[in-house]
């Protein structure tokens, strides 16, 4: 069982959350010329890192907020959690 520290509600079990994928993916800026490569990188291509991975989760059975979680994809250890609009240093 993963325990995720929701920045809004505190420590909760993974059963309350749903996964949202790689949080480092950025949508190409609006009103700017977008190359095919940039669009592919946004929609399809993923680094899928082994080790520290910044990812989105939604506290779907809690506050329903989207949050960012820094988690190790090899050990499942969770290091830090952030609000969705928080900058990750």
């Amino acid at each position: 069982m993963l325990y995720i520290n929701c920045p809004h509600c505190g420590m909760r079990s993974q059963n309350e959350f749903s996964y949202g994928g790689d949080a480092s993916v950025k949508r190409p800026e609006l009103n700017k010329e977008v190359s095919d490569q940039e669009w592919d990188d946004f929609v399809y291509n993923r680094k899928s890192l082994r080790g520290k991975h910044l990812e989105l989760w939604q506290h779907i059975s809690g506050c329903r907020q989207w949050i960012k979680v820094e988690r190790d994809t090899a050990t499942h250890e969770i290091f830090r959690t952030f609000k969705a609009d928080e900058d990750v240093a």
Binding site: M1, Q14, Y19, G21, K47, S48
Partner: protein
């Protein structure tokens, strides 16, 4: 190589079976090979076998970080089927079914192929319509498909829940009678033994740590056991694809996820089909030892851990009990996990890359085991001829940017959602 036969079995009985040849050798890496296959799983071993057998390329090495057959080929639920709707998947898998049928004879190794049939259960009228459509598509591609109504399903699997007060009543199902199971370890060992006998070096405990690429061409690999020169290199590493791609500065439409499976204690024969639950993601078959072999959803977050987490297992088995209530009486014997190379459209990639001499085989999602022979056969062709075969032409790497996706299930790019 000693042939496995009743004659040799009797002959070796006189020496207490102490003089059998090793099934494969344990060579030290040579300086150079024509082809290096990275990954000693089912697909890698099959690729090396077909390179030697079909293309007479025998200066081949398989480089395996752990031991052969220790990854997903030893961690799956052994289901073999070709019940796909799209032409690319259907024709590829049906070609594979033919190889499965001949495999034990071809490899001189009993892979215990058991074409017992698979039934996908339907739980609504809409699902019956969808299955009718898929069944028709299958039959147009020469794949056997039978649409069953509720009574017909009840006759075949009476132990499923046919009572009136269930949340997901069984409306019927789609059956592929020629689908089935095989002994997964035997597949790896059979391919390894034959490849080895034709001159392929199977090098275990050897980790790839880098690639030698110059002016867009591959020259070799760097490993924990030294540098190896190679004219061609094939990647067959399933859940580790992204790790090696990073060393090549490639970002792929692949994410690595964790998938669990489990077996119950062995019981008397009760189920002679593979059955899948249609209102969720659960499948079950009974092994020759009597264990109920079960699996379902991914754990649902990126993972390289080859071990599972209980919430997903509980969720999957809840579906199982909804489908076949007797499963709740069984004790769990073993659970395990493997790491899947989940592609963004749910279909695999077998293709050349932008680096000359580097070939890619990945993206098998939930269905790598059944694809073992067809994947090896087409990948060997792609490497040997330096061009894709018509069977894997659709499994191109650039289909994502060109929009030619093969979205069998239409799930989109959230690979963890099933």
């Amino acid at each position: 190589m000693q042939k496995y036969s009743i004659f040799n079995l009797v002959k070796n009985a006189f020496s207490n079976h102490e003089n059998w040849d090793l099934a494969w050798k344990d060579p030290t890496p040579k300086e150079e090979y024509d082809v290096v296959i990275i990954g000693g799983g089912g697909h890698g071993l099959a690729t090396a076998y077909y390179l030697a057998k079909e293309h007479k390329i025998t200066k081949v090495a398989i480089i395996e970080k752990g031991w052969i057959g220790g990854g997903n080929v030893g961690r799956n639920t052994t289901i073999i089927r070709s019940n796909y709707m799209h032409d690319e998947n259907g024709l590829f898998s049906e070609f594979g079914m033919d190889l499965w049928r001949k495999m034990s004879q071809d490899l001189n190794y009993n892979v215990m192929f058991s074409p017992r049939g698979i039934i996908n259960l339907a739980h609504s009228d809409a699902q019956m319509n969808a299955y009718a459509r898929r069944g028709n598509s299958m039959r147009l591609n020469g794949i056997d498909a039978v649409l069953l109504n509720r009574e017909q399903v009840k006759e075949i699997i009476p132990m499923a829940d046919f009572s009136d007060n269930v949340r997901f009543p069984i409306f019927g199902g789609l059956m592929q009678p020629s689908a089935g199971t095989a002994r997964h370890d035997a597949v790896a060992w059979g391919y390894a033994r034959q490849a080895d006998s034709m001159g392929v070096d199977i090098i275990q405990n050897c980790e790839v740590i880098g690639f030698d690429v110059s002016v867009g061409k591959i020259n070799g690999i760097r490993t924990s056991r030294g540098n190896i020169k190679a004219k061609k290199v094939g990647l067959c590493v399933a859940g580790s694809t992204n790790i090696l791609a990073e060393k090549l500065n490639m970002t792929l439409p692949i994410e690595t996820h964790l998938l669990q499976a489990c077996v119950s204690e062995p019981v008397k024969p009760v189920l002679d089909k593979v059955v899948t639950f249609g209102a969720g993601h659960f499948y079950v078959s009974q092994s020759d030892k009597g264990e109920m072999v079960m699996g379902g959803d991914l754990d649902g977050y990126n993972s390289y851990a080859q071990r599972g987490n209980l919430p997903t297992l509980q969720h999957v088995l809840t579906e199982g009990i909804a489908m076949m209530p007797f499963l709740s009486k069984l004790k769990m014997l073993r659970t395990w996990g493997g790491i899947m190379d989940m592609s963004m459209d749910g279909s695999p990639i077998i293709d050349k890359t932008h680096i000359e001499g580097l070939y890619l085989n990945c993206g098998w999602c939930y269905g790598g085991f059944k694809a073992t022979p067809a994947s090896g056969w087409t990948f060997a062709h792609t490497i040997a001829q330096d061009r894709v075969h018509e069977l894997n032409a659709g499994y191109s790497l650039n289909r994502f940017s060109t929009g030619n996706l093969i979205d069998e299930k239409g799930l989109g790019t959230k690979t963890w959602i099933s």
